[in-house]
């Protein structure tokens, strides 16, 4: 047994590949958080009064809140006075310009990350909004999308040019007081993406945002709002990386999705924030609130996430199924290796009649990784004929990691069905032996078995992302098998 133990061990330890830092002059405000900080951020962004007041309200509520303690994650208390709440590359001071004017250092950074921003170099069919620390530095294909009435821009730009949308929808899915981190985000959020798809329009390309934390001691608090009007549909991708640092950095984002009647939003994430080193030094605290609201009948919101990075992940992408016959989906692969911790899952809130939700969660734990699936399925009295199916599988590599499942099910009527299936398995020594006996290396065998385990989720990802995710899993697992 020991020998295969070691093989697995060797397999799970490979260096983080996006850990480089970009040397670029930043325009940052001093660390610390006060009403003054909130006003300063709002002023830097030249925001209308209503938004400032909204932020201040959030800040005041946040002061009275405490961090959630129910999640099974552990970290020293965060000193919120020690964080820089706004940092932008100096060259980008005046906000995103045309691509030709983007600082070449930034273009190089994204190129190195495999996200070329020059439109001619881009994978055909993907529009990108690139967010660097606190600001969006470039958005591609904007004009082309505008031709069909789609608005795809940085959040700051939306505030300037489409304040009416912001006013109407901001905070309506995730209210400012929703939770500690959402309140903090509402007070100090810096940038993110905004999408509006007009009635009946099928977005002709994948939209994506690529988040990069670069500056030291900086928190990233992005805000994303996606609105799909009646009968509209869009597929949206999100990717993220950060340099390797010994200190922990906080990332507290909020994503709000609104799907009106017959609209369809597919939101995919490949989260690869710096996970910290083998001993658990450094890494991102990824405390994120993501929620979608199916406001109209037959609306559909689908979350797909591949979570391989971050020191700690605390994240429950959820769907409120308000419209009759609306559909919510959650497909997740979460991997924890070394000392990583993840407490993740979803909430499906059934309100409308005949609403349906599907949850497929695949957790992989290696090294000393620590993982919990936490899922809530709530079926209101009004949700007659609602259905949920949950499948929750854990795969353990080695015997020092952990996986836990916490399903919460509340059903308030008797015409609904809720099914929950769960399994935990260890990567079999026999599976590994079999694959190697056929000639595969131990690495390839493990990555094949793990990818097989995740298949149901990967098939939900857009093509290029699926390939990326498979590679990422292989890399994150290297040196793990133990």
């Amino acid at each position: 047994m020991n020998a295969s133990h070691d093989t697995l061990d060797d397999l799970i330890s490979q260096e983080y590949q996006h850990g480089f830092e970009t040397a670029i002059e930043a325009d940052a405000i001093p660390p610390g958080l006060s009403e003054e900080t909130v006003r300063l951020i709002s002023a830097r962004k030249n925001e209308p009064e209503f938004l400032l007041q909204w932020r201040l309200e959030a800040y005041r509520r946040w002061l009275k809140m405490t961090p959630p303690s129910w999640a099974s994650v552990h970290h020293p208390p965060i000193d919120y006075q020690d964080i820089v709440y706004y940092s932008a590359p100096k060259s980008q001071k005046d906000g995103p310009k045309s691509l030709d004017e983007v600082d070449p250092e930034l273009l190089k950074t994204y190129e190195k990350l495999g996200i070329p921003l020059h439109e001619r170099a881009i994978l055909a069919g993907v529009a990108v909004d690139a967010v660097f620390d606190s600001v969006s530095v470039a958005t591609t294909f904007k004009e082309k999308l505008a031709e069909v009435g789609i608005i795809f821009c940085s959040f700051s730009e939306a505030v300037q040019h489409h304040p009416e949308w912001i006013k109407q929808y901001l905070g309506t899915v995730v209210p400012v007081q929703d939770n500690f981190y959402a309140a903090l985000n509402s007070a100090v959020f810096s940038d993110g993406s905004f999408v509006y798809i007009p009635p009946g329009v099928r977005c002709p390309m994948e939209l994506s945002t690529y988040f990069r934390i670069n500056a030291k001691n900086t928190g990233q608090f992005e805000r994303t709002l996606i609105i799909a009007d009646k009968g509209a549909s869009v597929s949206y991708l999100e990717g993220c990386t950060a340099p390797m640092r010994d200190e922990n950095q906080l990332h507290a984002a909020v994503v709000e999705l609104v799907a009106l009647e017959d609209a369809n939003i597919k939101y995919s994430t490949v989260q690869n924030w710096y996970p910290g080193d083998k001993e658990g030094r450094g890494g991102i605290y990824n405390f994120v609130t993501k929620r979608g609201d199916c406001r109209g009948a037959r609306a559909k919101i689908s979350w797909t996430q591949v979570e391989t990075g971050s020191a700690i992940t605390w994240k429950y992408p959820s769907v409120i199924l308000r419209g009759d016959d609306s559909v919510g989906e959650f497909y997740s692969v979460a991997l924890t290796n070394h000392r990583q911790q993840a407490d993740t899952g979803t909430k499906m809130i059934h309100i409308g009649k005949n609403t349906r939700s599907t949850i497929v969660s695949k957790g992989i734990s290696a090294g000393f990784g620590h993982q919990a699936y936490r899922g809530l399925v709530r079926i209101a009295r009004s949700a007659r004929g609602a259905r949920n199916h949950t499948q929750c599988d854990s795969l353990l590599l080695g015997d020092r990691c952990q996986a836990h499942t916490y399903p919460y099910i509340e059903v308030k009527n008797n015409s609904s069905t809720v099914e929950h299936e769960a399994s935990t398995s260890r990567i079999g020594e026999d599976q590994l032996f079999f694959c190697r006996q056929r000639g595969l290396s131990a690495e390839d065998a493990v990555s094949m078995i793990v990818n097989g385990f995740c298949k149901e989720v990967f098939k939900e990802l857009p093509m290029e992302f699926a390939v990326e995710a498979q590679k990422l899993l292989g890399v994150s697992l290297e040196g793990s098998v133990g």
């Binding site: 047994m1 295969s4 694959c435 190697r436 006996q437 149901e456």
Partner: protein
Amino acid sequence: MLQIKELTASVGDKEILKGINLNVNPGEIHAIMGPNGSGKSTLSNVLAGRENVTVTGGSLLWHDKNLLDMEIEERAREGIFLAFQYPVEIPGVGNVYLLKAALNAQRQHRGLPELDAMDFLALVKEKMKLMEMNESMLYRAVNEGFSGGEKKRNEILQMAVLEPELAILDETDSGLDIDALKIVSNGVNSLRSPTRSMILVTHYQRLLDYIKPDFVHVLAGGRIVRSGGPELAHELERDGYAWIAESGAYGVGL
């Protein structure tokens, strides 16, 4: 080409193989029979390099190379194939995907170019015909939901595609229906060649009616207690293993 000398091996602190001696030359077929729990699968596993079996003594030579120094996958790439007594399931991994990855890993080791999807598919389909397998099996996850017999057939398909120099078939006949046994045996026979050797682990004469062995060995209590020609299998079929206990050999083993 395979030389096993005074091989002893244990699982945990239980000694299972207690001094095995066996030579296999090119083109030979050796049948290994013996009571349940006598160490047949353990021997097969040791040859393939399974890590939960510890070799405690003796030597294993493969073409003058020390097998004991070689990793599992190295042995496979050097031409040693094991058809499992209990093939494992690998959910989500397509049968065809595993086969292609395996074949290309082996080809690469031998300095051959990788087969592309088209050539590979042509090759597999031809082998599947030989095994009278339904093509849809290619696209299912490895052994997942396969019947016992289908799993065994799948093992031999892998052997046919990988074309090993030494094939160890651990009770491939168990669980096969009468027709399937014929098909699998035909498949195995079609792979017989003057350079390819086989070790057939089996409990039944039936298989040996189809695949004629050159030698038959009886493994009992971790030792080879008798060796002979094909007639030995008939004798065992008729008399069983009671004689081992009488002769004392079995008792020593357990």
